[in-house]
């Protein structure tokens, strides 16, 4: 098999990774990767590729051979003329686009699952989130009938309060989800409630968006402060429902 020239190899790797990112994020996950992030990744990838290919002097020579021959090989005058005209135009075009005033909305980064405080005051009481457990969880084994009543009560709370944003299917795609930013969490996803302890959910539900620490951008969260609408019992019930409907298990403190 003929060996692919190193120069072409390097180009293939760089562009392959570039389009790979776009394929995975923009197309498959349908979640546009921000340009600034993509540029940063590509900077490291180009640097890495250069480092690998120029590790030995021979490698460097091989990598640069096509470029050298373009300038020095008399038989390549035609290609040279074309390349030498196209490259400056591309660079000038890029600079022009970069200098145009940006109308892209500023990027807002926020932590989705911020670290919880160790204690929190809800309903006028202080809760220790490191030891707090769902008081109805034990019913699952002790009194399955009572437990399923509790789950059902949680379902009622959910459909009256939560589905507008988090959706009937708990997939974060309720009827008003499209109008919210950040988008409501998808509980079906293995990266949300399946990774969390019930005490974390209790904190997040009871204190809502305004109860978030600053790194999670509390000012844009649409999560209501449920302490104002629901009783403590209702919050624990709806937590049971979230796990029951999705089939996820809450994380426990022992893990």
């Amino acid at each position: 098999m003929q060996k692919i020239p190193k120069f072409i190899q390097a180009l293939l790797i760089v562009f392959g990774i570039y389009f790979g990112f776009i394929l995975v994020f923009d197309v498959i996950l349908d979640h546009l990767i921000p340009n600034s992030l993509l540029n940063m990744y590509m900077f490291f990838i180009v640097a890495g590729v250069l480092a690998v290919y120029t590790f030995t002097e021979e490698g460097t020579r091989e990598l640069l051979a096509p470029i050298k021959s373009l300038v020095e090989d008399p038989s390549k005058v035609g290609t040279r003329k074309i390349v030498f005209v196209v490259v400056p135009i591309l660079v000038a075009g890029y600079v022009f686009m970069q200098l145009l005033p940006s109308v892209e909305a500023p990027l807002e980064l926020r932590s989705i699952h911020p670290a919880p405080p160790s204690t929190v005051k809800i309903y006028g009481k202080r809760y220790d989130l490191r030891t707090l457990t769902n008081p109805y969880r034990e019913l699952e084994h002790e009194d399955p009938e009572e437990f399923s009543d509790m789950v059902e009560a949680g379902a009622d709370v959910y459909v009256r309060n939560c589905h507008f944003c988090h959706g009937d299917k708990l997939d974060g795609q309720g009827p008003y989800a499209a109008g919210l930013n950040p988008v409501p969490l998808n509980f079906q996803d293995v990266g949300t409630i399946a990774q969390l302890q019930e005490s974390f959910l209790f904190w997040r539900i009871a204190t809502g968006g305004p109860g978030l620490p600053d790194e999670a951008a509390p000012w844009i969260s649409s999560m209501p402060v449920w302490e104002e609408f629901l009783t403590e019992e209702e919050i624990w019930q709806v937590i049971l429902y979230l796990y029951d409907y999705t089939g996820h298990e809450p994380r426990s403190f022992e893990e």
């Binding site: 389009f19 394929l23 020095e72 459909v159 944003c165 009827p175 305004p210 600053d214 844009i220």
Partner: protein, 521 residues
């Protein structure tokens, strides 16, 4: 909401094409699966109990625990009526396929999601079988499907004929309005006595099924059971339409879909264009026509006390212009009713109490530092917001505009020492309100709009005929406004410099190469 997400083709296109080809190839080799003839009622019940009772209720009567917070209310299966039906007039039993499709695709514009991603085809057919067990469903076999005749292709001519039929004798316009925006002159009720609003035909994403001409043809032919939308195939009706005429009307309805003022995920910044001269009052003025429209989703205020569950509107469009003296924001939103407290006709259409229509623009009082912004629902103590609020007036009071300072959803607003001018106009189901504020006015806390700097902006709308007042309204989250920089020569200078530098480097390189060859020779 699929219709609303524009594909971002620019970067994806080269990747999508081969993918698309692969999908088409796969689909063409998979044989079509035949429908399950008889669903399994027992499994249907199990699925129903897990997925459907929250809204439709254990007894299928549409009285699940969430029913009074949903608009439209969940279907009452014991009524035996299904809104999306393709059985020809005057049949009243839906085709199994109709029920199946409602489960599979859901009902856009309502809380009913499509279930195809969660339930198997068999599960969905089992559900159909179970729904038919509720009392009220007539066991008779459904009558024949609507006669579609020969479909009339969409054309300017067909749309024109459709428009004439739409308006003739107020056939459709009586409820849907002259421009199809559902600006009601009638108070409509559903089969359980609930308030219903005629469809705004310019918003296809709110159609219970779709605005495909064939679907629209079916609705016109059958009507929408459980609502006041009648069948126009009814021979007893003075407004009856022939098959061909119904295709023309369907094509016209399809053509009403908004194309410009729709939500686009890529356009979340209200770009304020710079003008050298005066900013016109008239929205038809050329400068306003050229200003980029940016449309946002409105969601009901479900966050702070007292919550609002029954919105009547879902989008608002903003444009902006500025010059040396002032900044102007033009807002447009569809509202089916001109809410004029004191006016007899307006009060007849309105819910029990009528209030003024209102709109508000929300801005931070102080420039934002870093990422921190005021809380998007009326700000907070640390970071207050200004509200530019316009009210539509009553029979005795004229329209009014004011600036208020808010420090949170539960704190009363306070008057600001700023002023703003606003004027509204209601026409064919759309409010257009123009706000103006003097720049650099002598205010203590005048907000500074600076060229090229993003400023957070949010909106709120009240439909006074839909009981919307105080905390009951629709709102957007924070978006941005950007007063665009006046054009400068910088990008051109930069580009020319870059061009010269690269050419210079090329020349050096060529000369070095030439010298090397000489030396070798």
């Amino acid at each position: 909401m699929i219709t609303l997400t524009p594909l971002k083709f620019s970067r994806k296109l080269p990747l999508l094409l081969p993918l698309f080809g692969a999908i088409v190839l796969c689909l063409s080799v998979v044989p079509h699966v035949a429908f399950a003839a008889e669903g399994d009622v027992e499994n249907g019940e199990a699925v129903y109990l897990k997925r459907c009772v929250g809204c439709h209720g254990i007894d299928g009567d549409g009285l699940g625990p969430g029913y009074d917070r949903l608009v439209p209310p969940p279907r009452d299966f014991t009524s035996g009526m299904f809104k999306i039906m393709s059985t020809a007039f005057d049949g009243y039993v839906p085709q199994d396929q109709d029920i199946y499709e409602m489960i599979r695709l859901g009902m856009p514009g309502t809380a009913m999601p499509g279930w195809a991603d969660v339930l198997s085809e068999q599960d969905m057919w089992d559900l159909v079988a179970y729904l038919k067990m509720f009392p009220g469903y007539d066991e008779e076999t459904p009558g024949p499907v609507v006669d579609y005749g020969e479909q009339v292709a969409i054309s300017a001519e067909s749309i024109e004929i459709g428009k004439t039929l739409f308006l003739e004798d107020d056939r459709c316009s009586e409820c849907h309005g002259d421009e199809g925006k559902g600006d009601a002159i009638k108070r409509l009720l559903g089969d359980n006595g609930e308030r219903t609003w005629p469809r705004n035909l310019t918003k296809p994403w709110t159609f219970l099924h779709s605005n495909d001409p064939k679907d629209v043809f079916t609705r016109i032919s059958v009507g929408i059971p459980g609502t006041q939308m009648p069948s126009f195939a009814d021979p007893a009706s003075k407004l009856q339409l022939s098959i061909e005429e119904r295709w023309h009307v369907a094509n016209y309805v399809n053509s009403l879909a908004k194309t410009v003022e729709v939500v686009s995920a890529e356009n979340t910044v209200v770009k304020s264009h710079r003008l050298d001269g005066e900013i016109a009052d008239d929205p038809e003025d050329a400068a306003w026509q050229e200003a980029t429209p940016t449309t946002f989703f409105l969601v009901p205020q479900l966050i702070a006390k007292t919550r609002h569950f029954t919105p009547s509107n879902d989008t608002i469009t903003a444009r902006s212009l500025y010059n040396d003296d002032e900044i102007a924001v033009l807002l447009k939103w569809d509202d089916r009713t001109l809410s004029l407290p004191g006016d007899e006709d307006a009060e007849k259409i309105a819910d029990s109490s009528i209030y003024e229509d209102q709109v508000a623009i929300q801005l931070p009082v102080n420039p934002t530092k870093g990422a921190a912004k005021p809380y998007f629902v009326l700000g907070d103590k640390e970071r207050p917001v200004s509200l530019w609020r316009w009210r539509s007036g009553t029979t005795t009071e004229p329209q009014s505009a004011s600036v208020e300072i808010a420090t949170g959803p539960q704190t009363p607003v306070e008057p600001s020492n700023q002023t703003v001018q606003a004027n509204g106009r209601y026409e064919s189901g759309t409010w257009t309100v123009l706000f103006r504020q003097k720049l650099n006015a002598d205010h203590d806390s005048a907000l500074t709009f600076a060229e090229g700097e993003f400023i957070p902006m949010a909106f709120a709308v009240w439909d006074g005929s839909n009981s919307e007042t105080e905390t009951k309204h629709t709102l957007t989250t924070w978006y941005w406004m950007l007063p665009e920089s006046s054009s400068t020569a910088l990008p051109f200078i930069g580009a020319i410099l870059a061009l010269l530098i690269v050419i210079g480097l090329e020349m050096l390189w060529l000369r070095a190469g030439a010298r090397k060859r000489e030396a070798e020779a």
